[in-house]
C-alpha cells in the first residue's frame, strides 16, 4: 500500500457512491439491532430490489447514530432522520425520497441532542459501513497512518500527541503523550501495544459503540501508537459479552491485513505491526492494567503492585503501552488536524471531547460526544432532554462503581477531570446514569458495593473482606435494621479500603458510599434513625443476592 494506492481506493469509493442519487442508512449497531434493526435493513434491501432501484438508491448498514432510545433509526441521504422504524415502513420511506418526509416517523435533527454535540471520535459513527474498509478509507481513514509513516519520526508523533493534551479516556486521565514517551524510552527487543476494550462499568457502552461503528479507527490509532513507541505486536482485549464488536473487529483486522495496512513492512517501510484479539471472560477487575496483562497472558486476572509499571515491565515482562478504545480513536484525528487544533477544544487541563453514555431516568438515552467543560446541566437537561414523567432530578452517577453520585448543586459544574474529582466523583470511562426521586441513594450505594464485592478478585484482604463487610452494613441499612454504630463503622471502612487496597478496584470501591453519604446524609439518617426510606424503595421488596 502506497499513499497513491490509498488515494486510489478513496477515489474509486467516492465515485461508486456518487452514482447513487438516493441513499438510506440503517443503524445496525447493537442498540438498534436489539429492536429489529436488521429486519428494517433487509426490508429496505428487498423493496429496492423489487423496485429495480439498485443502481440509484444505496442502502448502508451503519453504526450508532446516538439516540438509542428511539431505535431503530434510519437516516436518508437527503438529510432526514426517522425513529422507531419498522420493516413495514420501508416502502413509505422509499416513496418519500426526494419529496415530503414521512411525518409520523420523523425524528427532529435540530434538537440540542444533535446540535450541541461535537463529534470527533464518533465522526464516522452512523455514517460509514463498519464492515467495509473502503468506506473508512473514503472518509480519510488510514490517511493519518500514511502521514506518520511517510512524513513523521516517532518523536514527532509523540510530540504531536503531547501537544494535543489528550488524556487517557479510560477514566484516570493520565496524559497520553507522557505515557507514550515513557514506553518509547524503555529499551527492549520487543514492546507491546494493548487496547483496553474491557468496558466493565455497568451503564457504559461507549467503547462497544465505537468498536461496532468504526473499528478501523481504533486499529489506526493503535498502529500510530505502535510506530511511535516502537512496538511490533498488539492485542485488543475485548469483552466476550460484545459478540458484534468482536465480529466487526475480526473483519476489520482481516481487511487491514489484506490491504497491507497490518502485517510486515507496512506501506513498504520497515514498520511491522500485527494485532490479535483476546477475549475477556467477564471479570471487571481486568480493566485494571496489570490484571488485564495477566489475563492476556492466559492467567487469572489479578492485579499486582506497581511499580514496575507496564511501561517498563508489562506483557510477558516487556514494556507495554495500554490505552483505552476512545483514546486510540482520538489519535488519527490529532495526527490529521494537528495537536494544536485538538488543544483548542475543551478546558485548560482537559482537552478535546468526551463520549458519554446517557442512561437511566432521562428522556434521550443514548450516546453523545461533547466538548470537555460543558456543564452537567447542559448534558442532562438540554442534550438529554431532562427527566421524563415530570419527575425531579436527584443525582447523576458518573464513573460507574468507582465514581460517585452528584446531586443537583453540581449541575452547573463544568465536566472535566479536575472538577469531577473535586466533586467526589471521577470522569470514569463515560457512563452517566441519571436518577430521579424514585431512586434511593442508599440502595444505589448498596448496589455498587454488591458489584464491587462480587468483582473483587480476592487477592488483597482489604478489598476482599472490606467490600463484603461494607455490603453487609449497607444491606442492613436498606433493610432498615441498622444502627448508628453500623453507620460509623461504614465510614471507617471507607477510609480503610481507600488507603490500603492493592488496586484501583478496592481503592475506589468506597466512592459511591462516600459521595452519597456526603450529599444525601439525610437519606442515611432516615434509614437508620426513622427506619424509613424516603424514596420508598428499601424494605419493600426482597433484595436480590448474588
Amino acid at each position: 500500500m502506497t499513499p497513491e494506492e490509498l488515494i486510489g481506493i478513496a477515489e474509486s469509493e467516492h465515485e461508486s457512491q456518487s452514482q447513487f442519487t438516493q441513499g438510506v442508512n440503517v443503524c445496525v449497531a447493537a442498540g438498534c439491532l436489539s429492536c429489529q434493526g436488521q429486519a428494517v435493513k433487509d426490508a429496505f434491501d428487498q423493496d429496492i430490489k423489487r423496485r429495480g432501484w439498485e443502481e440509484q438508491c444505496q442502502t448502508k448498514g451503519v453504526g450508532c447514530m446516538g439516540l438509542c432510545a428511539e431505535g431503530p433509526l434510519v437516516s436518508t441521504h437527503d438529510g432526514r432522520m426517522y425513529k422507531h422504524v419498522t420493516a413495514a415502513d420501508a416502502p413509505e420511506i422509499l416513496d418519500s425520497l426526494g419529496g415530503a418526509a414521512v411525518s409520523r416517523l420523523t425524528c427532529a435533527t435540530d434538537i440540542p441532542f444533535f446540535s450541541r454535540q461535537k463529534k470527533i471520535v464518533l465522526e464516522n459513527s452512523g455514517v460509514i459501513d463498519a464492515e467495509r474498509i473502503e468506506d473508512y478509507i473514503a472518509a480519510l481513514g488510514y490517511g493519518s497512518l500514511i502521514k506518520v509513516l511517510t512524513e513523521m519520526s516517532a518523536q514527532e508523533v509523540i510530540q504531536e500527541v503531547t501537544k494535543s493534551g489528550l488524556r487517557g479516556r479510560g477514566g484516570a486521565g493520565y496524559p497520553t503523550g507522557l505515557k507514550w514517551s515513557t514506553v518509547s524510552k524503555a529499551t527492549a527487543k520487543q514492546k507491546f501495544v494493548i487496547c483496553n476494550a474491557d468496558e466493565g462499568d455497568p451503564g457504559a457502552f461507549m467503547d462497544r459503540s465505537v468498536l461496532e461503528s468504526d473499528p478501523h479507527r481504533v486499529i489506526e490509532g493503535m498502529l500510530i501508537a505502535a510506530y511511535a513507541i516502537g512496538a511490533s505486536d498488539g492485542y485488543i482485549y475485548v469483552r466476550a459479552e460484545y459478540p458484534l464488536a468482536i465480529k466487526r473487529l475480526r473483519t476489520a483486522i482481516r481487511q487491514a491485513e489484506r490491504l497491507g495496512l497490518l502485517g510486515n513492512s507496512i506501506c513498504g517501510t520497515r514498520f511491522s505491526f500485527r494485532i490479535e484479539l483476546r477475549l475477556g471472560a467477564g471479570a471487571f477487575v481486568c480493566g485494571e492494567e496489570t490484571a488485564l496483562i495477566a489475563s492476556v497472558e492466559g492467567k487469572r486476572g489479578t492485579p499486582r503492585p506497581r511499580p514496575p509499571y507496564p511501561a517498563q515491565q508489562g506483557l510477558f515482562g516487556e514494556p507495554t503501552l495500554i490505552n483505552n478504545v476512545e483514546t486510540y480513536a482520538n489519535v488519527p484525528v490529532i495526527i490529521r488536524n494537528g495537536g494544536d487544533w485538538y488543544a483548542q477544544i475543551g478546558t485548560e487541563k482537559s482537552k478535546g471531547t468526551k463520549v458519554f453514555a446517557l442512561a437511566g431516568r432521562i428522556r434521550n438515552t443514548g450516546l453523545v460526544e461533547v466538548p470537555m467543560g460543558i456543564t452537567l446541566r447542559e448534558i442532562v437537561f438540554e442534550i438529554g432532554g431532562g427527566i421524563p414523567d415530570s419527575r425531579n432530578f436527584k443525582a447523576v452517577q458518573t464513573g460507574g462503581p468507582s465514581g460517585g453520585c452528584l446531586p443537583s448543586e453540581y449541575l452547573d459544574m463544568p465536566v472535566d477531570y479536575e472538577s469531577l474529582a473535586r466533586a467526589g466523583s471521577i470522569m470514569g470511562s463515560g457512563g452517566m446514569i441519571v436518577m430521579d426521586e424514585t431512586s434511593c441513594m442508599v440502595d444505589v450505594a448498596r448496589y455498587f458495593m454488591d458489584f464491587c464485592m462480587t468483582e473483587s478478585c480476592g487477592k488483597c484482604v482489604p478489598c476482599r473482606v472490606g467490600t463484603y463487610q461494607m455490603h453487609r452494613l449497607l444491606h442492613a441499612i436498606t433493610q432498615l435494621t441498622a444502627t448508628q454504630a453500623d453507620l460509623d463503622l461504614l465510614t471507617e471502612l471507607c477510609d480503610l479500603l481507600k488507603n490500603t487496597s492493592l488496586c484501583g478496584l478496592g481503592q475506589s470501591a468506597p466512592n459511591p458510599v462516600i459521595s452519597t453519604m456526603r450529599s444525601f446524609a439525610n437519606e442515611y439518617k432516615a434509614h437508620v434513625q426513622d427506619r424509613a426510606c424516603p424514596a420508598g424503595v428499601c424494605g419493600n421488596h426482597a433484595r436480590v443476592q448474588p
Binding site: A30, G71, A281, G431
Partner: protein, 171 residues
C-alpha cells in the same frame, strides 16, 4: 491423574471422546502454539463448542497446554463467563447494569423466581430454563434489558417476561 515421575507424552493428549467438536479446540490450541498463554482462548473455544466446561475438558486442555489442572480450574472458575454446568434448553439473562437496575431489573428477577422457582445461576428442574444475570449488556438505552436465547430484548416488563416464559413452556 498423572502419577508423579511418570513419563508424560506431551505430544498427544487425547481428546476425551470422538466428538468432532474437539477438532475446533485442537485448532485453537495449534494456532496459539500449544502455550499456556492460550489457556483463556482455548477455554472460550471449548465453551463455544460444547456450551460449558466439564472436568474431562479441563483435563484435556490443561494437558494440551502443559499447565497444571489447578490452574485451568482456577481460571475457569475465576471468570464469570465460563460455566462448569450445562445450561438449560433456554436461557434467560437479566441485565443488572446500573441503568437496568434503576429501571426495574430486580423486579424482573423476582418475577422469574416466582414463575420458575429458581434464582440466578440455576436451571429449572425439568432442564427447560436457565436464569442468569449479566453485569451490563451495554444496551442501557433499552433498559431494562433481558437476553432470551441470545436475542436481546429491550424495555422488558414483567408481563412481557411471563409471556415469553409461557411460549417456552408450551413448546
Amino acid at each position: 491423574m498423572i502419577a508423579a515421575g511418570a513419563a508424560i507424552d506431551f505430544a498427544k493428549p487425547v481428546p476425551p471422546n470422538q466428538d468432532k467438536r474437539w477438532r475446533l479446540v485442537e485448532a485453537t490450541i495449534r494456532r496459539l502454539g500449544q502455550q499456556s498463554r492460550g489457556l483463556i482462548e482455548t477455554l472460550h473455544t471449548v465453551q463455544e463448542a460444547f456450551g460449558y466446561l466439564d472436568e474431562d475438558a479441563l483435563k484435556y486442555v490443561a494437558a494440551s497446554l502443559r499447565v497444571p489442572l489447578s490452574r485451568a480450574y482456577g481460571v475457569a472458575t475465576f471468570y464469570h463467563f465460563f460455566t462448569l454446568k450445562p445450561a438449560g434448553e433456554h436461557t434467560c439473562v437479566v441485565c443488572m447494569g446500573t441503568a437496568c437496575y434503576i429501571k426495574g431489573a430486580p423486579q424482573l428477577l423476582e418475577t422469574l423466581e416466582r414463575e420458575l422457582g429458581v434464582t440466578p445461576g440455576q436451571t429449572t428442574q425439568d432442564g427447560k430454563v436457565s436464569v442468569l444475570t449479566a453485569r451490563c449488556l451495554g444496551s442501557c438505552g433499552l433498559a431494562p434489558a433481558v437476553v432470551y436465547d441470545h436475542e436481546v430484548s429491550g424495555k422488558v416488563t414483567a408481563a412481557g417476561m411471563r409471556e415469553q416464559l409461557g411460549k417456552w413452556k408450551s413448546q
